[in-house]
């Protein structure tokens, strides 16, 4: 049975449609990402699951039970908030124990279990501190411990790593993933960072304008994007519209081609099964592991081409030179 199910859920705020007949099913134990730009409906979706908001139409099911009208305090779901939402007037241990306190667990017992949870996130020595005395990363762990103390079946995380700096974010990615595997509960997290979604989730729902554009594994999203939006949002891609595609390949079907699939030809002949086109190098951006050339092809379109860093001789053409670029026909992904 699905841990979480949304059936045709819609939610509008005045004239703005935040969620437009969204259906999705999340299996128990999944690490599931809701990915999309701001205003795409991903956070609204999370709020419906947590119970902070109700859909205008459609249903929310948890463990197969319709909870559309069940308030958050009666749902077996817990949330890690974007701003952590730690209670400023309680110390760390009381924050973590809060879920037990409102369930009238005895003081000694809840203290013991709060310390247990703090050990899980390696913060047991901070039990008596106030949240304001902690760093961002520590607050994040306290929020995590607090959300897990009620042993929820589903943990919701709203932009959990958004407020952390890059290095800490990478550490927490590994840690969250490890924690999810150890606990075996369903994690659903909202993010606008495609790298985060790809590296942590088992499956990703890509949101755009209140709808799910594509729901797939990270690999499938990257290698087989179905729409121009997904191709552009998950990683970067050159989207070739149908009329240009017609001229290049003879088929009027839009397609996406990743920059790293395009090669700059040094000798004259393109290999068999390749599409070959000429253009002028307009711009070169150095990214470290690779460089990106923007090539203005005949006909006006701009294509990005990634060149791996060779470490030795410069393999890049000079700005303004005419080059021939090519890609294997098979590596182009047709779009809807």
């Amino acid at each position: 049975m699905a841990a979480i199910e949304l059936r045709d859920a819609s939610r509008a705020f005045g004239p703005v449609v935040a969620l437009d007949r969204v259906s999705l099913t999340i299996a128990p134990g999944e690490f599931f990402a809701l990915l999309g730009p701001s205003g795409s409906g991903k956070t609204t979706c999370l709020r419906l699951i947590a119970g902070f908001d109700q859909p205008d139409s459609g249903q929310v099911l948890l463990d197969g039970v319709d909870v559309t009208d069940v308030p958050p305090f009666e749902r077996n779901v817990n949330t890690v908030f974007q701003d952590y939402a730690l209670f400023p007037h309680m110390n760390v241990a009381d924050n973590v124990a809060y879920g037990l306190r409102v369930r009238r667990v005895a003081a000694a017992e809840r203290r013991r279990r709060a310390i247990e949870m703090l050990e899980l996130v390696q913060l047991e020595s901070f039990a008596e501190r106030r949240p304001t005395q902690l760093s961002g990363g520590q607050r994040q762990r306290v929020a995590l411990a607090r959300a897990l103390i009620n042993q929820p079946k589903v943990l919701l995380l709203d932009e959990p790593l958004g407020a952390l700096d890059l290095k800490l974010r990478e550490e927490m990615q590994t840690e969250l993933k490890g924690l999810q595997q150890r606990l075996g509960i369903t994690f659903v997290f909202v993010t606008h960072d495609q790298g985060e979604a790809l590296s942590m989730a088992n499956r990703v729902a890509v949101f755009n304008a209140g709808r799910i554009e594509q729901l797939d594994t990270p690999r499938a999203l990257y290698t087989q994007p179905k729409t121009a939006f997904v191709a552009g949002f998950v990683g970067s891609a050159n989207v070739v519209e149908s009329d240009l595609a017609d001229r290049l390949t003879g088929r009027a079907q839009a397609f996406a081609i990743r920059p790293e699939q395009i090669r700059i030809l040094t000798d004259g002949t393109p290999p068999a099964g390749h599409v070959c086109v000429e253009g002028v190098v307009e711009d070169i951006l150095y990214h470290g592991a690779s460089s990106r050339c923007h090539v203005r092809i005949d006909g006006g379109a701009l294509l990005a081409v990634a060149q791996a860093e060779s470490g030795g001789a410069p393999s890049l053409p000079a700005l303004g030179t005419r080059v021939r670029i090519a890609w294997a026909q098979a590596s182009a992904v047709p779009l809807e």
Binding site: G51, F52, F73, N78, G99, V102, N150
Partner: protein, 303 residues
């Protein structure tokens, strides 16, 4: 050119700049405010010569002995204290839902409407409002008339028949005085409370509900503790304003004296400046005790 060199000079000498900034208000506060308070305190340790009715400038506790030794004076202090406590509690109870609505639910326009609505009565003359209330509360006033029209005359009579707080009419009873006090000081409770509640992020309430707290538990465990600083600030206003006021007890209510009236009378007609000063010290002491209690109860922990 001159402006620039002055700016540079001030920029490089932080201390001088701060001194320039703070000297006028500190001089004002120091002399006019604290100075007069100290003079007042000193006065209360003088006493009046009963035959010549002159102030004898010698330090003595005679005036304080008079203040707490005479049952009539103690009655006045207790009466004023009881009124201040009742007014503060009532103002808090009435203000909380209004402030909560303003801070949590009101849209931008509604919030502006409420802020103006709460502050609007403060733009009118204080005396006009007090005298208006006397008319509203009078035996032939609109409140009595409306209650009679609604067939509630009996309830009003029963209320006014309650010993001590009742009286011949609302306008000449402690109940009427209480109503006017609550009306007058309500904005001073609503505004700091709304400001405190506005600072509570929505996500804290959601987190509480998310962790299984029913709305009542969220209110007790999260909203109320975080609103305490605002409640404390508002109650300092309502408490101290009631303790010091002498106009409302003069215009509305039963004949019993209040601290403010005693200060007014002793320094005026009675000409007993030391006793007036001693009575003025009463609200200061009571508020100091109140603040100490509030602090011990953790009202300022969430600041």
């Amino acid at each position: 050119m001159l402006a620039r060199s002055v700016s540079r000079f001030l920029h490089s000498r932080r201390g001088f700049y701060l001194a320039l900034l703070l000297a006028p208000p500190l001089l004002w506060l120091g002399t006019v405010y604290l100075g007069s308070l100290l003079v007042l305190l000193a006065q209360s340790f003088y006493a009046i010569d009963e035959f010549t009715a002159r102030v004898v400038p010698e330090l003595t506790l005679k005036t304080y002995r008079q203040l707490v030794g005479q049952p009539a004076n103690v009655d006045i202090i207790l009466r004023t204290l009881a009124m201040a406590v009742a007014v503060t509690l009532a103002a808090a109870v009435i203000a909380f839902p209004i402030a909560y609505y303003m801070a949590r639910y009101a849209g931008l326009r509604m919030r502006a409407f409420f802020y103006v609505g709460v502050m609007l009565p403060m733009w009118t003359s204080y005396l006009v409002k007090v005298y208006a209330w006397r008319l509203l509360l009078a035996k032939e006033g609109i409140i009595s008339w409306a209650l009679t029209g609604l067939g509630l005359q009996g309830s009003l009579d029963r209320l006014l028949a309650v010993p001590v707080v009742g009286g011949p009419s609302l306008a000449s009873s402690y109940i009427g005085m209480f109503i006017v006090f609550v009306y007058m000081w309500l904005p001073f409770m609503i505004l700091p409370l709304a400001a405190a509640l506005e600072r509570v992020p929505e996500s804290l309430l959601q987190a509480s509900a998310d962790l299984g707290a029913r709305p009542g538990q969220t209110f007790r465990n999260v909203v109320l503790p975080l609103a305490l600083p605002g409640l404390a600030a508002g109650s300092i206003f309502t408490f101290s304003l009631t303790l010091g006021d002498y106009i409302i007890p003069t215009v509305v209510g039963a004949p019993g004296y209040f601290v403010g009236m005693m200060v007014y009378q002793q320094q005026g007609t009675a000409g007993n400046m030391p006793l007036a000063a001693a009575f003025s010290i009463v609200p200061i002491v009571l508020i100091a005790i109140y603040l100490a209690l509030a602090r011990r109860m953790g009202a300022f922990d969430a600041l």
